[in-house]
Amino acid sequence: MSAIAKSPWVVHFNCSSCNGCDIEFLACLTPFYDVERLGILHVGNPKHADVLVVTGSVNHRTARVLKNVYDMIPSPKVVVAMGVCSSSGGIFAEGYNVLGGIDKVIPVDVFVPGCPARPEAMLDGILKAAAILDRKAREGTGVATVSAAKPVINLVPLAADAAPAPAAP
């Protein structure tokens, strides 16, 4: 196992979720579940991360941000979709501005079901992602950018989005 898979760094992005999955993901960090004992570190900057954890379905406004966050993560990288919203759109799939699951915008490696997904399931998902990360690192795959990997659906640039960079300052 390569070093990267022993200590994957995770960044969390809330696409447009109801918060249920987010607080369960945060609960994973706290003493009861404690992902850090498995070597997993939660970071705030996508440029430091190996694993992208996304909660919530993607809508027209977050599609661009999600794509940017994904592109900012250095390769090799893996994506975990937490909860049914990010897997398929879930209960919000029929919303008029909801595109559906995040796999509409970026490639996804692990889908974690549940509404909200239980912390145990999330831990399992991240560990599965770490194994995929290890494989990608050894095979040298997973370096493709999102634009090459997926035909991105019609991301209309919003005037308000054009000016600042969307990631953390």
Partner: protein, 369 residues
Amino acid sequence: MQTTATSAFPTRNTVIPFGPQHPVLPEPLQLRLVLEDERVVEALPAIGYCHRGLEKIAEKKDFIQNVYLVERICGICSFMHSLTYCQGIEELMKVDVPSRAKHLRVVWAELHRMHSHLLFLGLVSDAFGFENLFMQLWRVREHILEIMEKTAGARIMLSVCSIGGVRRDLDDGQMAEVLRVLDRVEHELEEILPTLMNDYSVRQRLCGVGLLSPDKAHDLGAVGPTARASGIPMDHRQTGYAAYGDLGGVTPVTETAGDCYARIMIRVRELHQSAEFVRKAIQKIPAGPIAVPVKGNPDGEVLVRMEQPRGELIFYIKGNGTRNLERFRARTPTFANLPALLHMLPGCQLADVPVIILSIDPCISCTER
């Protein structure tokens, strides 16, 4: 970077984006902060990242399915949303909810308030850089989630409130367990909270930061703990919905300072108030059925208000005698508190921005639905 000439010496204002992906915010809120050196001159919100068109989906679904939908307005106070929605529909359909169900609703609502306040206190500690406190407060919060799972079957989305009552009953053993957990939580908080309340560095970060005067709080329509921290005694539990009327009424917890510290103190004191409510509700719970059957479809319009952990929640529900609602509208507390937040930010230091934003306990999922 843009240059403005406000005085004889041109100052250079910087605009930095805060969010939508930001370490202190679990949610995608974006604020454009206009800075002069390290001082914030203006804060411009850019919202809409969390919009899911929930009000429109509510019109497509059956009014009974909507109970599950409205829970997903926000995961942190999911039970409060389903309770408000059920109360609205019950008012429209003139359903008389059994007293036992009302008491059980109070038990779950107050447990939810406790978990939400602990979550908030943890996040705000993380925002001013006290990660240890964050971990400890969330450790205590797990006890409450655990008891919710034992009584309602889920940690976050309880789905236990239904039109006409509740879906699960508590037996004596479960009630004793709830009381035991409350004692344990309060005992553990006794050890942790003094650090939050009295620590020198914590007070340095919180006292006098993000001031909101009572007049401004009133004018800007602040609600909930944000208003109460500025000395406005406003708490919708005073109207006595569910079983609050039978439990001896509610005295709002207020503070006078109107700064971040006061807003945190409100939550600390409300934790004990909520625990008292759960105890009282369990003590006074009457025997009887937990739900009544509901027939027919809602017709007419209704406005329901209730107190969420973050403040006053308003639902407007309009039915037209069919299975589907004609209109559903939600006004959530963070939406009401945003003008107050934008008033607090100008003049503060950039380093205080995360603390001030978190001190109103923003819930963007609610706000943008």
